[in-house]
């Protein structure tokens, strides 16, 4: 590879052609501060609009300062990163940015986790000259079921726009207005609800400030817990246990399953259950549906549409309802684990503990913001009573635990309650990309062939490659599987399905890069993809530890079918555990 020699702060460095000044400086241990810039290496995600101008440096021979994040090294370049000219410019630019940013850090959702706040601290800004005469750019607050947009706090880093357009190809957000009033918003400054937003929350996950945050449902949960007439139960998604510890200073990838259960108990939940149980249930329903369609297809039934698409991810469901309504008969009709849990909890379990569904409050802890929207969908309510009442994110749970002055680090480990807390390893791996389909394969193989699997780790289905393909040998029958994570990758795969180019039997799609472990409700990874990898490793480690690793072997699932549902895809199962999809057309609504 061609290399380039240059000098940064009087030190020589040699880098491959195409390396930016910022990266070259890092090789020398010189950390030039960046604000708008963001990189997720293993997913090829890079945001460098060179807009904030914080990372500027002096390049000899150039008239103006150069943004180090977006300027490539050139042979013989002489770069200076901390001359008085650079430091003065950086401070002045930071003062500009802060002069148009609200100073309500005390009650801001991002306080303590805000990159702008950290940068202000790093640059030692103690006052903002001229603040008393500085006008602020202000915008209408936009609250949707999942996400709050407070554009007063937008610094135009454009990360959300990049995630929404380039990575997710959702196209809900783009820059609007110009000059001082420029901001990132849906077209015509509509509310997010009237855009094609899927609520995947990736914009929230990358927002450096409090401009994009989740709708906080912890006050609602607290109110339910405080109400003696309510029985409050909680379910926790698989990805939560692999990331919650980060909020309490633990290494990324630390599993805190037992401590999390103790914390939830300490918070006053009456029963602590596991969404993994519902994940096992999902596999029974979705796996059976897959085998049914597959066998009908093999016997020549033209009405059996393949490939079957997974439907656990609500961001993904929203996406195909907007962009691929013609394919709405293709995804599995199985509800997501969150909703299956809710449906079983408010019928089977409510009956068991003899509580009216109206007095049973189901809370879910999710790595996801789209789940907030999902549980509010009309079809998931009975008599105006939601199957899942509130969904809160991993971040909200962490904050809730801290509010209750519970020290997660020092809690004893505890077990989930029965019967909805028992799960297999198959349910756990739902949290990582490829996990749902791997879990499905473990069950479908044995149900289809009647033989026992000798290996349970389908490593060919794992990894962080955006689109993956694999063929699994079902005892002589090659089953073709496709996997995509990130909606942009899903779009590619779906386009191929639509055009008839792809020949898959089953496809798994997760809206967020990395799967649920990289969800929009997880602790912020600030662009560090090592964190995503560590979370994935934790998920697979938990799977390995489990005595049972196939959903159909979960004794409580078997019991549930015996006592209540009869068999997978039975009429009752269909009624409670399956759903249907809608074509969504967005209407432009005049601004309020």
């Amino acid at each position: 590879m061609e290399t380039i020699k240059l000098t940064i702060d009087n030190r020589a460095v040699e880098v491959p052609r195409g390396t930016t000044i910022n990266k070259a400086a890092r090789l020398l241990g010189i950390e030039i501060p960046v604000l708008c810039y963001m990189e997720l290496k293993d997913m090829n995600i890079e945001n460098k609009p060179a807009g904030c101008r914080i990372c500027v440096v002096e390049v000899e021979g150039r008239r103006n300062l150069a943004p180090s994040c977006a300027t490539n090294c050139e042979e013989g370049m002489i770069v200076r990163t901390h001359t008085t000219r650079v430091l003065n410019a950086r401070r002045t630019v930071m003062e500009f940015i802060l002069s148009d940013h609200p100073k309500d850090c005390l009650i801001c959702a991002k306080s303590g986790n805000c990159e702008l706040q950290s940068m202000a601290h790093k640059l030692g800004i103690r006052e903002i000259p001229g603040q008393e005469i500085a006008a602020m750019s202000t915008y209408r607050l936009d609250t949707s079921p999942s996400i709050i947009r407070d554009l007063d706090k937008c610094i135009m880093c454009r990360r959300c726009e990049m995630m929404c357009n380039e990575i997710q190809t959702v196209g809900a957000l783009s820059a609007v207005n110009r000059g001082f009033m420029a901001a990132v918003a849906p077209a015509f400054e509509q509310n997010l609800e009237h855009s094609t937003c899927t609520y995947c929350g990736q914009c929230v996950a990358v927002c450096p400030t409090g401009a994009l945050t989740e709708v906080d449902h912890t006050p609602d949960v607290l109110r339910a817990l405080a109400d003696p007439s309510k029985t409050v139960i909680v379910q926790t998604a698989p990805a939560v246990r692999a990331a919650l510890g980060e909020e309490f200073g633990m290494e990324p990838g630390t599993l805190v399953t037992g401590k999390m259960v103790s914390a939830l108990r300490a918070l006053g939940f009456d029963y602590v259950f596991d969404t993994d149980f519902a994940a096992d249930l999902t596999i029974m329903e979705e796996g059976t549906e897959l085998l049914d369609r597959l066998n009908r297809h093999l016997s020549g039934d033209k009405s059996a549409r393949l490939p079957i698409l997974t439907s656990c991810c609500p961001g993904w469901v929203n996406f195909f309802e907007y962009y691929f309504p013609d394919l709405k008969e293709v995804p599995s009709t199985a509800k997501s684990p969150q909703q299956m849990f809710g449906a079983i909890a408010k019928t089977y379990f409510a009956d068991k503990i003899k509580v009216n569904r109206k007095d049973l409050v189901v809370v879910s802890i999710m790595p996801c913001l789209a789940k907030k929207y999902e549980c509010q969908r009309e079809e998931f309510s009975t008599d105006n009573n939601r199957d899942v009442d509130f969904s809160i994110s991993t971040r909200e749970l962490a904050a809730f635990i801290k509010q209750a002055n519970i020290d997660l680090n020092n809690l004893e480990e505890d077990d989930f309650d029965a019967p909805l807390g028992e799960s297999t390893g198959a349910g756990v791996i739902f949290g990582a990309t490829g996990g749902v389909i791997e879990a499905a394969v473990r069950t479908a193989y044995e149900l289809q062939t009647g033989k026992k699997l000798d290996r349970l780790d389908f490593t060919e289905l794992r990894g962080l490659e955006g689109v993956r393909e694999a063929t699994i040998d079902f005892d002589g029958l090659p089953v073709r599987i496709g996997i995509a994570h990130g909606l942009g990758n899903a779009r590619k795969l779906l386009d191929d399905v639509r055009s008839g180019k792809s020949q898959f039997h089953a496809i798994e799609v997760m809206a967020c890069p990395g799967g649920c472990i990289g969800g929009g409700g997880q602790p912020l990874h600030h662009g560090n993809s090592e964190i995503i990898k560590a979370r994935a490793a934790a998920i697979y480690a938990e799977d390995k530890k489990k005595p049972l690793r196939k959903s159909h072997e979960n004794p409580f699932i078997i019991k549930l079918y015996e006592e209540f549902l009869d068999r997978p895809n039975s009429e009752k199962a269909h009624h409670l555990l399956h759903t249907h999809y809608f074509e969504r057309k967005k209407k432009i609504v005049v601004k309020q």
Partner: protein, 597 residues
Amino acid sequence: MSQYRMQIMVCGGAGCSDLNSEAIFDNLQLEIEAFALENEIQVVRTGCFGLCGLGPVVRVMPDEVIYTHVSPDDATEIVSEHVLKGRKVERLLHKDPVSQKILATEPELSACKKQLRIVLRNCGIIDPENIEEAIAANAYEALAKALTELTPDEAIKIIKDSGLRGRGGGGFPTGLKWEIARKNQAEEKYVVCNADEGDPGAFMDRSVLEGDPHAVLEAMAICGYCIGAANGLIYIRAEYPLAVARLKTAISQARQYGLLGSNIMGTGFNFDIGIKYGAGAFVCGEETALIHSMEGLRGEPTVKPPFPAESGFRGKPTNVNNVETFACISPVILKGADWFRSIGTEKSKGTKVFALAGKINNVGLVEVPMGTTLREVVFEIGGGIRDGKKFKAAQTGGPSGGCLTEKHLDTPIDFDNLIAAGSMMGSGGLIVMDEDDCMVSVAKFFLEFTVEESCGKCSPCRIGNKRLHELLEHITKGKGAPADLDRLRNMSRVIKDTSLCGLGQSSPNPVLSTLDNFYEEYESHVTAKKCPAGQCRDLMEYFIIEANCVGCTACARVCPVNAITGERKEPHIINPEICIKCGACKEKCKFDAIIIH
């Protein structure tokens, strides 16, 4: 083509058109037909003459007589007097505001003196909607020469040797730009004409497109031949409907004549031109923003490199030049590099079109050799300052240029001298200010424009310019402190140093150059809280001179807020606490008793 003994040219530029020159044209035509003279006398609708302040303008050739402020009803008299009897219509001739002398013909008009028309060679002379007139004026001859006698490298060499630099503002050597685009190998390349003229008051590009569109089409084709592109695109703001219409006509006529399209002039060279519309954002004049806008994206600049010559429209090598630059190409190819080099200064060759505006007698469009001094432009061509006032400053380079002052009057105007003087060439706007102009307000005025036109992508331009403007506003309200002047300077420097594109890199120029040249005026605003030019309302105080006041009460009666009190036949006084500085009293007073402090 028939031979006419006389041509009556009616200016069809946007300014004169708005003043109903179309009806003048129609009436002249009717009159000529009434006398059955249509075979002898031709009435032509041309592009802009450049005498915009005198419009609508009619020129009679070969007499070179210029009629000014013509109305449609004047057609009868022009025909009956001038055409039939050979007598000039005196009342329509221009009278010099200073000497009161009548200036009847083009050579006599001061605005036309010292001009050298290369870019505007055909503007105001040919009918822009008739390709045959353009061809008669040598259009497409340079293209023919390039295609049949020159290799692309030879043609580029002529442009390089000529020393032609980009007229859009940057002054980058045009030949070099073409050479880079030629060297970047790609199956597809593009030639883009930047017609997104956005400087307030500048309209030279519009004039060329309205008056001589073929000059641009031909040059784009030559550029296509040189760099190896078959596609040309003109990015023009939709607010130029007349220019768009004439361009469309010109393109379709050129296609009919085989001068655009495939196998041009039988040489096997293919080149065609399309039009892309801009919505009028100033920043889209920046070439990367322009390209994004053409691609249907938000008109925002991106970091260079990569330059458009490497990766431009749809990622292909793209050469972007502005209208005026293209308009120079054909004469250079035809007359040679040496001819062009002989005009201008050492590093700035050829001519430059300026749009004269402000407190000057002859507003309009002029083309002068590079190196002409500001004094010549303002006092000779421009006819001096209006109402005999004193020259104070001239803003060049549009809203992001700087102010030149009295000490710069004898500086030859070229790219480098303007930069050295803290301004820039920009697209050639030249706004003249007199003693009544407050330079703090002037800086604020220009900044208001850039604040409005910033795209908002980078923080120094988005927020910094707003803060600069706020501080200037603060100072003009008399609320500023001496320390604010240092802050103005620091903010300006940082905005220039850190902004992403040319807009932010130059937007503080009006502030810096007025700070440099008129520091005492700023000081007076922040220390004595006075505006020396008497322009800043909040710093004014209306005052009645006791000795002059006869107590007629006229001022007190006209005052809308009852700030003036006094007995009849006694001197009155103004209460500054109540006074809103509307100036009604001063206007009413017949005894010059009211003055402004």
